[in-house]
């Protein structure tokens, strides 16, 4: 294990592994993300990509391996602590707060750690009011960035699918992350919507300089946006490289097109 920490390594996983019963969902996956990178995580269905996200955010505990954020282990930390440390995410099956408005969804990201004391909550002194004004302003700014300001007062559950995906991104940004995990942001989108999304993510990335790890199936989106791509197959890292390399890699092509039955066990040979 390379113990030398380069200053711009934001996230590193070492041999990250998780078993569900007899099935090894993620096998010794080692990823390194550098500051400001926009990295893709691709692979056929069932490859374990979302599981990697779940491991990083500690929605599930790894069976083995290490996860380092800025060189410090985040294993075993509660998901909300991990968020406060700088990792935010979107979800494969959108998880917005359905009965809250778009505005309220984004605002939640800003105050998930309340910015004033509980006593001040009961008696809202000018100090707390000022904080709330600031929060309001910032939430509206974020909605503006994802072009959702007109929909601010609409219930999240009544928004069209594409807008919901954008809203999730805005909410994730609200937590002021250093690392943004996007889980299939383009899922279910047609070509036009994908193009808009690519533009949006590119704008956000350029402006905010978030380190971003993106799971995606739309190859066009991945190739357009990502500087570096990791390929996962059946839980293991197949390869990694720049888009051009990945596109032409026969292993990758086989992984996607191959119809072989592979049974994963806890002891892969």
């Amino acid at each position: 294990m390379n113990t030398q920490l380069r200053n711009d390594e934001i996230l590193t996983t070492h041999d990250l592994t998780v078993d569900f019963g007899g099935v090894r969902a993620v096998n010794k996956v080692s990823i390194t993300l550098h500051k400001g990178e926009l990295v893709g995580l691709i692979g056929p269905n069932g490859a374990g990509k979302t599981t990697v996200f779940n491991l990083i955010t500690n929605a599930i505990r790894p069976t083995a391996g290490q996860i380092l954020l800025h060189g410090k282990s985040i294993l075993g930390k509660s998901p909300d602590k991990i968020c406060r440390l700088g990792i935010s995410r979107t979800f494969q099956n959108i998880r917005l707060f359905p009965q809250m408005t778009a505005y309220e969804n984004v605002e939640l990201g800003l105050h998930s750690s309340p910015k004033y004391s509980i006593a001040e909550a009961f008696v809202r002194l000018p100090h707390a009011s000022r904080i709330e004004k600031g929060t309001r302003k910032r939430a509206l700014e974020l909605l503006e960035i994802v072009n959702l300001k007109e929909h601010a007062n609409e219930r999240a559950s009544s928004l069209p699918y594409g807008l919901q995906r954008r809203l999730e991104i805005a909410r994730a940004m609200a937590t002021s992350p250093q690392l943004l995990l996007l889980d299939e942001p383009a899922a279910g989108m047609n070509e036009d919507e994908c193009n808009d999304l690519v533009k949006l993510i590119h704008e956000i990335h350029t402006a905010m300089k978030y380190t971003t790890l993106m799971i995606e199936h739309h190859m066009a989106v991945v190739m357009d946006l990502c500087e570096c791509i990791y390929v996962l197959n059946l839980g293991s890292l197949l390869t990694q490289g720049i888009p051009k390399e990945i596109q032409n890699d026969p292993q990758v092509i086989k992984a996607y097109l191959g119809e072989r039955k592979n049974v994963r066990t806890a002891n892969p040979s």
């Binding site: 979302t50 996200f53 779940n54 929605a59 599930i60 494969q92 099956n93 998880r95």
Partner: protein
């Protein structure tokens, strides 16, 4: 020593009754992810039906038992169809399902109260001589309750693990959506599960009524079963049985050695202690949500 064995046997017998309830609870929880508060009512209903069959219709015990089981099954399945199925299909949040279940419970328990009155009734079977082994007396009904309870659980095990329908239920417990995609009929599974619940709760109700008394609020004992299920490890049927036996024996010990009025208090404290030190329950498996 004799007191100890006496209490042990009594504890096993009550543990057996708790097992029936705990398994019923765990079954519904593992498939539908909510607490079926109406279980409380089903148990009381089963007991009262058997009681009425014997005391008003003068039927023999076994006939009363069967009538009770059949009627409780009808009640249980009816509840599913009326109160739960719509919410289930709508994928309503757990809170709503629990409110609906609590509604059913309130309605039925209070209906029983209105119809029969709140007096504690003695179950109308003749006092039977206990069996003596040495100086220890084993209540004959305790023995029968234990045997029948374990018999029912054994049949259930056979059903779940050796039949096609049981496989369907177990698959649904893992993931309802996938199970239905595999061709398993969700509604049929619901029927089966609630039929099973009906059987378990009526048998438990009758034997509990025999051991203690029959009264409208008797179903409150299902909370012990829920506690037992949690203690064992929520979602697992064998764990529910283990938890029930442990709880039944421990609380009978407390009742015998300390005081019977503190028995229920003990059960509750036991729950808290277990949750503090074994957040997964004693044998629990992790049930993490799919993201």
């Amino acid at each position: 020593m004799e007191l100890f064995l006496q209490q042990l046997i009594s504890g096993i017998s009550i543990g057996a009754i708790y097992s029936l309830l705990a398994v019923g609870y765990a079954l519904v929880y593992s498939v539908y992810n909510f607490t079926n508060w109406a279980f409380d009512a089903f148990m009381a209903f089963g007991a009262f039906m058997a009681f009425t069959a014997i005391s008003s219709l003068f039927l023999p015990f076994w006939a009363a038992m069967i009538i009770s089981i059949v009627l409780t099954i009808l009640l249980s399945v009816g509840t599913e169809k009326l109160a739960y199925s719509t919410l289930r299909r709508r994928k309503a949040p757990r809170l709503f399902m629990m409110i609906s279940a609590m509604g059913v419970n309130l309605a039925i328990v209070n209906l029983i109260n209105k119809a029969f009155g709140g007096t504690f009734r003695k179950f109308p079977i003749e006092d039977v001589q206990p069996i003596f082994i040495g100086n220890i007396s084993i209540g004959r009904m305790d023995l029968i309750a234990g045997l029948i309870s374990f018999g029912v659980l054994g049949l259930l095990w056979l059903f779940l693990y050796r039949t096609k329908w049981g496989l369907g239920i177990r698959a649904s417990a893992i993931d309802i959506l996938s199970a239905s995609l595999m061709g398993i009929n969700n509604d049929a599974v619901a029927m089966l599960i609630f039929t099973t619940t009906g059987v378990l709760s009526s048998v438990a109700g009758v034997f509990y009524g025999i051991k203690y008394a029959v009264y409208p609020m008797m179903g409150i004992v299902t909370i012990k079963a829920m506690i037992a299920s949690i203690v064992g490890g929520l979602g697992s049927l064998p764990a529910a049985i283990v938890g029930s036996m442990i709880l039944g024996i421990l609380e009978t010990m407390v009742s015998g050695y300390i005081s019977s009025s503190y028995r229920d208090l003990f059960s509750f404290l036991f729950l808290i202690l277990i949750l503090l030190f074994f957040p997964n329950g004693l044998m629990g498996k992790s049930g993490e949500e799919k993201l």
